[in-house]
Amino acid sequence: MPVYVDISRCIGCRSCEVACQRVHEGWSHVNVHYAGYHAAVPVFCHHCQEATCAKACYTSALYKDGERTAFAVDKCTGCGLCRLACPFGVVWTDKLAHKCDLCSPRETPTCILTCPANALTTDYESASRRARARAAMMVAHGGRR
């Protein structure tokens, strides 16, 4: 289960990036993108059901662990195939690969705890409910808001 973003709440403050970097010894697995000057959204691992990065990994360093796409660093050869296999560009390789690991073994990902705007969650139900409510409001207001 990936981290869901309520894009209407993202204020583009980059706290998630800095926090992720802090707990992962200098590597941030989140990248905040700015859509012009109108919006921002953090982009990170979707923990895809059909994880293409795991399919490309020939040592099984990347693998599915339930809903999570997990990474066993000791099996990584740093080949760089996973970086090219991710359709969203959120797997990085330096000497070794790294990507969002949902901060396991911690219970809650750090980005979710730190987000000042409360825009991140792993709770799919509440995230989708809010998104649909907002979409309904936008439709009613003729696309504004």
Partner: protein, 680 residues
């Protein structure tokens, strides 16, 4: 290996977020979030997350040092303090205590601020101030005058109870990020958000109505909105008649501010002004949130009063979801002001010119000859330095060489001093100009209380030892005071003992004792030891004789500097999310610098194309006071004719004007005329 979690209060902004510092073997190794913190619920912005990078920066000052030729010579603490005491005493002897000035630090604890102003005044100098002068001085002056208290009237989480949130001159999404979680909750419940700003900032993303206002025209906008409220009968008649005075004069003064007229001045469509005014007035509970976009003008005090007027005629004050929210900047600027580190106030906002004030503190401090104020404000101290009237300055934790406007003039002022002593954690630009530099402990290396913008007084703990020979500001001030012959009045074994003295002398802090301030702090006023604190101000009336607040007519006056054919672009300044103020801390944090590494100027593409400037070009920005290099960022978030620069990097303040608000003495940081050319 034992790991301890030390509760701490963030050293950056005044939101006052708490978090735990993980300490192992006297080293700060990480941060854990404080999920039960009342304002932040554990959240922490990018600056807070990077806070530990300050502690171990290579640049930390470790030893007292004295200027020697082109460089510095190390001194022992004894030698350094002796030297400072000697130089200050001699100057005081020769030209009187009015010839020395003290700048206290809004990053230091309440206890330390209390001691700095106490020391200054015990020496006979009325000249003590802090950087609120550059920030919310108009709030201190304006709101004290209209509603009797200069502070945010409601707690931060209370924004979730508002049904209309009017944000003017504040980019809280970048500078007080945790406020946005409460605004989002208000929006989920149907609240309307209005944002007024010259730029389409990240905060404007929250807006239902966005008023893109010309810099410096806030009084016209606010009076225009008040005009709509009065002429359409949307005033709160009961509130006006029971809790205010001056309504008829005020209503009369709005004649010239019909929406059409206000629109001509501000550049905001009249229809939007009307809609915003109606929404604000009609909603059952409305809040006005404001910050530097309102205060840092030559009309700053008028701007604040105009806000207060709007809240008073609609009765949106003194209850849940309804209030005035000045967002303070530094982690303890509210506290520094509460502790009287201000030219016009003694602790507890007792006026410095009042006889009773001097009597009270003479008795409490066991000293005669306390100076009557008001003393020189920090901006006036710079003037006085250039005139030779101030011969020495003692600056704690502030960087006027970068933070004040018109940097060249400030530099001249500091260099003209006979003696300058700086007490800080980093070798800032100001420290580089000093005669003596004293190394101070950072926030995590000492203990004491900070007061956040919502008046929450919180205790922060010492997590690790300071580097080298650095000492807490409390220790330094007490040692210096002893060398100056004030040892008797400055014997404090620890911060808690200073807090007890504060409990006795500052009525609002009377019940905020060390034992009670506990884990989530207390909100002042807290007048006695069983009082739970006061989240919402003015619920029972304003702090005046009859409980009535003042409606004060204010006229729109154009900003002190306008564009000309020579300087055709209007420069406004501000901040970005990953940096803080003059940048002495954030520019030394690698994870923040990699995200915003350099000074930039935002230009509208239509303006840029006329100047042959492309995105990313190196340009020179020049005003009547100086020039600086910057990287061009083309964006439509600013209107044509307006450009924006953050002041986190040295250079921006070379351009800003030192025209000031006559009441609060704050410089006009937010309007300057400039020109831009490509550097080839």
């Amino acid at each position: 290996m034992s790991k301890s979690l030390v509760p701490s209060v963030c050293p950056y902004c005044a939101a006052g977020c708490g978090f735990y510092i993980t300490v192992e073997k006297d080293k700060a190794t990480g941060i854990e979030y404080m999920l039960d913190h009342p304002a932040s619920e554990g959240a922490l912005c990018s600056k807070g997350n990077a806070a530990l990078e300050i502690i171990y920066s290579e640049d930390r000052l470790r030893h007292p040092q004295v200027r020697k030729g082109e460089g510095w010579a190390k001194l022992s603490w004894d030698e350094a303090l002796d030297l400072v005491a000697r130089r200050l005493s001699r100057i005081i002897e020769q030209s009187g205590p009015e010839s020395v000035g003290f700048l206290s630090s809004s990053k230091c604890t309440n206890e330390e601020n209390y001691l700095v102003q106490k020391m200054a005044r015990c020496l006979g100098s009325p000249n003590v101030d802090n950087c609120a002068r550059l920030c919310h001085a108009p709030t201190v002056v304006g709101l004290n005058m209209t509603v009797g208290a200069a502070a945010m009237t409601n707690p931060i989480p209370d924004l979730a109870n508002s049904r209309c949130i009017f944000i003017i001159g504040s980019n809280l999404a970048e500078n007080h990020p945790i406020l946005s979680r409460w605004i989002h909750r208000a929006k989920d419940a149907g609240a309307v958000v209005i944002v007024a700003d010259p730029r389409l900032t990240h905060t404007a993303w929250l807006a239902d109505i966005f008023l893109q206002i010309k810099p410096g025209t806030d009084v016209a906008l606010l009076n225009g909105m008040a005009h709509v409220v009065v002429s359409e009968g949307l005033t709160n008649g009961e509130f006006i008649s029971k809790r205010t005075r001056g309504y008829s004069d005020f209503a009369e003064s709005l004649r010239d501010y019909a929406p059409q007229k206000a629109s001509e001045i501000t550049g905001v469509p009249a229809g939007d002004i009307v809609r915003a005014a109606r929404a604000y007035a009609i909603s059952p509970a409305s809040s006005i949130v404001y910050s530097m976009g309102i205060t840092q003008h030559s009309t700053g005090t008028s701007n604040v009063v105009a806000i207060s007027n709007l809240a008073l005629i609609t009765g949106h004050i003194g209850r849940p979801g309804a209030g005035i929210f000045p967002l303070r900047g530094q982690n303890n600027v509210q506290g520094a002001c509460d502790m009287g580190a201000l030219a016009e106030f003694y602790p507890g906002y007792r006026r410095a010119e009042d006889h009773e004030t001097l009597e009270l503190f003479s008795l409490a401090w066991g000293t005669a000859g306390l100076p009557a104020g008001p003393g020189l404000t920090s901006t006036e101290m710079m003037d006085a330095a250039l005139e030779g009237k101030i011969r020495a300055l003692y600056i704690v934790g502030e960087d006027p060489a970068n933070s004040d406007s018109h940097s060249n003039r400030i530099r001249d002022a500091l260099e003209s001093l006979e003696f300058l002593a700086v007490q800080d954690i980093f070798p800032t630009a100001t420290a580089q100009l000093a005669d003596v530099v004293l190394p101070a402990a950072a926030w995590a290396e000492k203990e004491g209380t900070f007061t956040s913008t919502e008046r929450r007084v919180q205790w922060t703990n010492r997590a690790v030892s300071p580097p080298g020979e650095a000492r807490s500001d409390l220790e330094i001030i007490c040692s210096l005071a002893a060398k100056l012959g004030l040892g008797q009045q400055f014997t404090y074994p620890d911060a808690a003992s200073v807090l007890s003295e504060i409990n006795r002398l500052v009525a609002a802090y009377a019940g905020i004792t060390r034992e009670r301030v506990g884990s989530c702090g207390l909100v002042w006023p807290c007048p006695h030891g069983q009082h739970p604190g006061t989240p919402i101000l003015h619920a029972q009336g304003f702090k005046f004789e009859d409980g009535r607040g003042y409606l004060v007519p204010v006229k729109y006056q154009p900003a002190a500097e306008e564009v000309s054919w020579e300087y055709p672009l209007l420069l406004t300044t501000g901040r970005v999310a990953v940096h803080h103020n003059a940048g002495s801390m954030t520019r030394r944090s690698p994870s923040l610098m990699e995200r915003e590494p350099e000074l930039f100027v935002e230009i509208n593409p239509d303006d840029a194309v006329k100047l042959s400037i492309a995105n990313g070009d190196e340009v020179t920005v020049e005003s009547a006071r100086g020039r600086t290099a910057a990287k061009a960022r083309l964006t439509e978030r600013v209107k044509t004719g307006v450009v924006f620069m953050p002041f986190h990097f040295p250079g921006t303040n070379l351009l800003t004007t030192d025209a000031r608000d006559p009441h609060a003495k704050i410089p006009q940081f937010n309007v300057a005329a400039c020109r831009i050319a490509r550097r080839d």
